[in-house]
């Protein structure tokens, strides 16, 4: 791509979403570290925003998406409301899961976000099933399923990809490869050539992309999503990226080589890279700063709303377990 034919509107839209995700997670980290208002673990995707923004810009609300424990960015990019998301992180009654799920189970079915998942790779077979349901119903939307590089070493990776291939299902699998399985280098725990090679061996149309190049992700994902929509067959996108934070917000990530994260932040931050592209394309810095400020304002507000929100009613712990044999009647 040359700068002369660069799609400035799309670039701005990508940058805006990435700034929103970054701002949301920075506020979430403040809520956890400064305010002590986040009760469990949160897993930040700071540094990985380009994958969420670049893939999700091609989806409609009727398309489904399933995410991982590191799912704030995916959820926001799918169109979820940051206020209800932040309330969920703080365990408040207005949270999108009514304070029952927290960060690791964040979901917003109203925008087609069918849930983050606390079990690595578990969402892969569920996502294949959502696509199976679409096929059975004769609907025309599609499913996108995110997972990390560590997921390729769990059984559902094989079973889910095979399932999508066998039944011919409209799903795009997106492997966000940040090189670490929690705190262990994935390469040291993975035989063979990794997730893309495994997907290829199962006959899936497989593409790799620099996941920190927002434009490249948007181009590649756009092509693959059109292909999935048209062919109703699965495809696989392997996006290389890097997690600038630790596994959880309280993980100092000291297992990394000295300077690795700092080097990536300096040279490979997807927001900085896209910003540089836009400046080269002729956008004034103050216009880009305004996007960043807007993201910060929106998410500062989200945290303020969440901080002021009420706790869920104690008795609601017995709601939505089951209809038959509900603990509302029979908890003991």
């Amino acid at each position: 791509m040359t700068i002369s034919n660069y799609d400035i509107d799309r670039g701005l839209s990508l940058l805006s979403m990435m700034q929103r995700i970054r701002a949301f997670e920075e506020q979430a980290r403040l809520a956890a570290v400064r305010d002590k208002l986040v009760h469990g673990a949160i897993h930040l995707s700071i540094g990985q925003e380009a994958v969420a923004a670049g893939v999700m810009m091609h989806l409609t609300r009727k398309d489904y998406m399933l995410s991982t424990h590191r799912g704030h960015g995916h959820t926001l990019a799918k169109g979820a409301n940051p206020d209800t998301m932040m309330q969920e992180l703080l365990g408040r009654s207005g949270g999108c899961c009514s304070g029952k799920g927290g960060s690791m189970h964040i979901a917003d079915f109203s925008v087609g976000m069918l849930g983050a998942n606390g079990v690595v790779a578990a969402n892969i077979t569920i996502a294949a099933g959502a696509a199976h349901g679409i096929k059975l119903s004769g609907d025309n939307h599609i499913v996108v399923c995110f997972f990390g590089d560590g997921a390729a070493n769990r059984g559902p990776f094989l079973e889910g990809l095979n399932w999508a291939g066998v039944f011919g299902l409209p799903i795009l699998f997106v492997c966000e490869d940040n090189r670490y399985s929690a705190t262990t280098l994935t390469a040291e725990m993975t035989a063979g050539d990794g997730p893309a090679a495994r997907a290829q061996s199962l006959g899936l149309s497989t593409t790799t992309v620099d996941g920190n190049d927002a434009d490249a992700v948007a181009d590649t994902a756009g092509r693959l999503i059109t292909q999935v929509r048209d062919t109703r067959q699965p495809a696989f996108l392997h996006a290389s990226t890097y997690r600038l934070d630790g596994h959880t917000y309280f993980d100092p990530a000291s297992y990394r080589p000295d300077g690795e994260a700092q080097h990536s932040a300096r040279t490979n931050d997807p927001i900085t890279r896209l910003r540089e592209t836009l400046i080269t394309a002729g956008l004034p810095a103050h216009q880009l700063d305004a996007l960043k400020d807007a993201g910060n304002d929106e998410m500062t507000h989200a945290l303020a709303v969440a901080t002021d929100a009420a706790w869920p009613a104690d008795a609601s712990v017995f709601d939505d377990v089951q209809d038959i044999g509900s603990p509302r009647q029979d908890a003991y």
Binding site: S98, L114, A122, A128, A130, G133, G160, W163, Q322, I324
Partner: protein, 322 residues
């Protein structure tokens, strides 16, 4: 009213539900040829390969993909082939399906019937014979049922398919060919036990095929002058506490019998509940009859060492009543 087998009764219920609702579909290994126990025979011909779908030998994916399809509006019937194989899909059932509605704050439902043929059957040995029903009663979010008769396998299947909760549906492998009358108009209500015979001397509680053995034991006992009230729980979660407690208040004696291992079996839950609510009514200690905490063997004589029989119930009742 028609006479049909336990397998045919469930098959009829599934067929009727599939005719009534195009969102109902079946997924599992070898369903195209009618299922391992012919419990799906003829359904492929009527409903086609998409709605009576074969699956790879991927139990986790069968369970989980059906769940994903349930979340987007379909109503899957999931076939696990043998209850033992469902253990390959434990994360999918316990961590995903049972929890989704709750974790997501009520945004999703998992209307699924998860069929798990259970129990001892023709020297099937340690990995094809287990009765693990009590495990599932420990998992909030799941409904757990164990039909014992053709009537119940019809009525309970129909109710299960219409229910919006995930249902662990445990059919017993040794009674597929059992015949009985099926009244299509009989409505099964979850959590309601059936009193298979009334009696005032001893309460005999069971479920699944052991309830059939208990009904036979009740007849034997009657010929010996002991009237047992035989209760088939049918559903373990929810379970019919009031029917059991009221019966014990009347008889003063309780025997709980199940094919599964006695230690930590559901009989322990029943015994504890009766002790909490009707201890004063008891004239004798509660008796539990379950399998020894050992592994199911292949050789018929070894298998028989682990088998819960009607005679054990008869002996226990005589001991309690005399």
């Amino acid at each position: 009213m028609a006479i049909m087998t336990y397998a045919a009764a469930a098959r009829l219920a599934v067929a009727e539900a599939m005719r009534a609702d195009s969102n109902v579909w079946c997924i599992g290994e070898d369903l195209g040829r009618g299922g391992v126990f012919q419990q799906y025979q003829g359904l492929r011909e009527e409903f086609g390969a998409q709605r009576v779908s074969d699956a790879p030998i991927s139990e986790a994916a069968i369970m989980s993909a059906a769940f994903g399809a349930a979340m987007v509006g379909t109503r899957p019937i999931v076939e696990m082939r043998f209850a033992d194989f469902a253990l390959c899909a434990t994360d999918e059932l316990v961590n995903q399906i049972a929890k989704a509605r709750f974790m997501f704050g009520g945004q999703s439902r998992a209307p699924m019937v998860i069929r798990k043929p259970m129990g001892m059957w023709r020297s099937s040995a340690a990995q094809h014979s287990q009765s693990l029903e009590s495990w599932y009663t420990h998992i909030p979010g799941l409904v757990v049922v164990c039909p014992a008769t053709p009537q119940d396998n019809y009525s309970m299947m129909k109710a299960a398919i219409q229910c919006d909760d995930p249902i662990v549906y445990l059919e017993h492998k040794d009674i597929w060919a059992n015949e009985g009358e099926v009244d299509p108009d009989y409505h099964y209500e979850f959590g309601r036990a059936e009193i298979r015979r009334g009696g005032g001397d001893v309460t005999l509680v069971s479920w699944s095929n052991t309830a059939n053995l208990a009904a036979d034991a009740g007849r034997d006992l009657s010929s010996q002058g002991i009237e047992a009230e035989v209760i088939d729980l049918r559903s373990l979660w929810p379970w019919d506490k009031s029917t059991v407690i009221n019966s014990v208040k009347k008889t003063g004696r309780l025997i709980v019998a199940h094919e599964s291992v006695q230690v930590s079996g559901f009989g322990a839950e029943i015994a504890a509940t009766v002790a909490e609510h009707a201890l004063q009514a008891l004239k004798a200690p509660i008796t539990r009859i379950g399998a020894p905490r050992s592994l199911i063997a292949y050789a018929p004589n070894l298998e028989n060492q682990l088998r819960v029989t009607g005679q054990m119930m008869v002996d226990a009742a005589i001991r309690l009543c005399r």
